[in-house]
Symmetry: C2
Subunit: 384 residues, 2 copies
């Protein structure tokens, strides 16, 4: 029930940073190597190749020492000049981040906004893009603020030759993303989600046809040309986070050994388990009640309970960290992340503690069935 | 003599990344915590306070997930608009980096250049600054490309009210830097040098009077106002590298427990030991032959020997990594870093392997005395 003090166990069920396997943590604790020596170059080459495999692309994947927002900024700094017009598909907090980055760079944004919790409609997006005449669209595959996973394949099909940049920070390695197969022009990601690594590394896949349309970078640190030129020589433009890259190499190895399809199937089943348990308690889902919700399960706080109070109870009494609602959803929803190194017992622990804490807070919920329903839902294989 | 294969030991004597104590590495391998939870906030608060202590400042020290160059860019992106004029004091590779960053941001640079290996003269700098009429000067305290540690205290005294930004990436914690005491306006640093931490974190001290003159940031990720606003709430503007920050907190604790003065004295004595050993072999120093050279000892390759060949011999035969000469000094010098977690036995190992490898390469040097001379030089206490 939570032992006060340092021996209390911690359970991290947030949409990022996410839990990291011990072998990945241990790799990051290896003695430091020089970033221009042979020891590191081998690791760097392996990491860059594995990143391509996880991205399902033959193109370069640039690797920055930064949070994911840095990689997002690299897109705007390299593809847009002040006064350029771009479209942003926004259906949550990270769509708004695209807009903020564009505004900071004096880029004129055509915002295609959806209610938080809604999924973007590819045809609507395409119509808005055609009408505005932009040649660049920025979107999210997964916006963790709502749990919505957007159908970026259909969006790309619908917008055709217009360049599509997908923020897959929280989805790469969790749900299918065929960068080359679907013709996605640029994919941005980060280390701390489904890639099962500590935060601190961010990536951007940049194929030759996109690099060809890049402008003079308005960022020195995130300059695509300079970063690519260095990476091509297995160097890094700036001293990279060598210990995090060691970790990432091990994590990507674990993912690829198991196979990406296995990861995708596991995430679908984790989402099913979470939704089944939540519904069994009589709670209402905020994220879509279908298999697209494989990354985050967002739940409406029950009548009379503030979601943030629930999360404090979970954290301070039981050592369990879930994520709160953001912006106008603060207090109204809570979110269970299941991205990366998660198994069904993480889901049942999250459900069991939500059930316990809601009871402690006096909520009227169905008790004693969530965990069993979650196991049942998880057991059912996903149809091929 | 170097055992081929995976069991070969490695010796990292470069000016960054530098060796990291086991306790610091171990802290980085702790399970991931959420960056908005109480567990992390305690670590974050401690790290930010300790950074102030190491900087010897009462002002905010902004902490970014990035390489040091990112923090350097933050200065230009927040203090300069296109067309602004700034002066850069350049006496090595990192002075040239200031110039490149300014150029990328369309800032007009008045370069005050010194030969690589020369130390800037404060009065000359002040005269050039006065003549050019700029109100912002960017410089290095230590430029590892040459080993020169510049007298930034005298530069600040000489330029008076003109804002001085000091890149102390490789010197903070190694040589005295009294940010507030000397009136240094902004100090930029990084985790992977004297702070004894893996690479991936960068810092910028920004006092209120400098923030007041900041312009609208032309970087989203490195926006001073946004980063400060978040840090003030013990939050971070973007998901921070939580594992590296855990490491940094432990490393800063080790430094402060021992006392900064002890670190400064150790670095002086390490420099003395390195110079005594190098001279005992009959080699010529490139970095100044005085106690200012406490960070890096740069050495001219002996007649007939290419410095890069020497470094390959050291690395591939003996597992010892030193740093090469950069740009026009490539092949002509080699550099022994002694920044951070170094003791005298690191210096004697570096000297012994240089002596051995030069002999293997057929150089005519004095053998058998370098290590003894190094110990003697190290033993002599630094006068108070």
């Amino acid at each position: 029930m939570g032992i006060v003090g340092d021996v209390e166990k911690r359970y991290l069920f947030t949409p990022g940073p996410t839990p990291v396997p011990p072998a990945v943590l241990a790799a990051g604790a290896e003695p430091i190597v020089h970033h221009r020596g042979t020891d590191f170059r081998e690791i760097y080459a392996s990491t860059l190749e594995r990143l391509k495999s996880v991205h399902r692309t033959e193109s370069d994947v640039l690797l920055y020492t930064a949070s994911g927002s840095g990689a997002m900024e690299s897109v705007v700094a390299n593809l847009c000049a002040p006064g350029d017009r771009v479209a942003v598909v926004s259906h949550g907090s990270f769509g708004e981040r695209w807009i903020s980055i564009c505004e900071q760079h004096d880029v004129d944004v055509q915002a295609i906004r959806y209610e938080w919790g809604e999924s973007p409609d590819a045809d609507e997006v395409a119509a808005a893009v055609r009408e505005s005449g932009v040649d660049l669209v920025l979107c999210q595959q997964s916006d963790t603020s709502t749990g919505v996973v957007s159908d970026v394949r259909s969006i790309k099909e619908a917008i055709g030759d217009v360049t599509l940049v997908v923020d897959a920070i929280s989805s790469l390695g969790a749900v299918p993303l065929e960068t080359d197969g679907w013709g996605i022009d640029v994919v941005v990601s980060g280390s701390q989600k489904a890639l099962m690594c500590p935060p601190g590394l961010a990536t951007t896949s940049v194929p030759a046809h996109v690099l060809a349309r890049a402008k003079r970078s308005r960022s020195f640190y995130f300059d695509w040309q300079a970063n690519k030129k260095a990476q091509d020589k297995l160097d890094a433009a700036f001293t990279p986070a060598v210990s995090l890259i060691r970790s990432l190499d091990v994590a990507l190895g674990l993912i690829l050994d198991d196979g990406l399809e296995a990861a995708f199937e596991r995430h679908v089943r984790l989402g099913r388990a979470a939704r089944a348990g939540i519904k069994a308690m009589g709670l209402e889902l905020f994220s879509p009640d279908d298999d697209s919700s494989a990354v985050v399960t967002a739940v409406r706080a029950p009548e009379g309970i503030d979601g943030d109070d629930l999360l404090l109870q979970l954290r301070d009494k039981h050592g369990v960290t879930l994520a709160p609602g953001q912006a106008h959803l603060k207090g109204k929803i809570f979110r269970i992340g299941h991205i990366g190194w998660f198994d069904v017992f993480d889901i049942t622990t999250a459900l069991a503690t939500v059930e316990l804490s809601l009871t402690e807070l006096g909520a009227d919920i169905e008790r004693g069935v969530a965990v069993a329903r979650a196991f049942e839902a998880f057991e059912t294989p996903v149809a091929a």
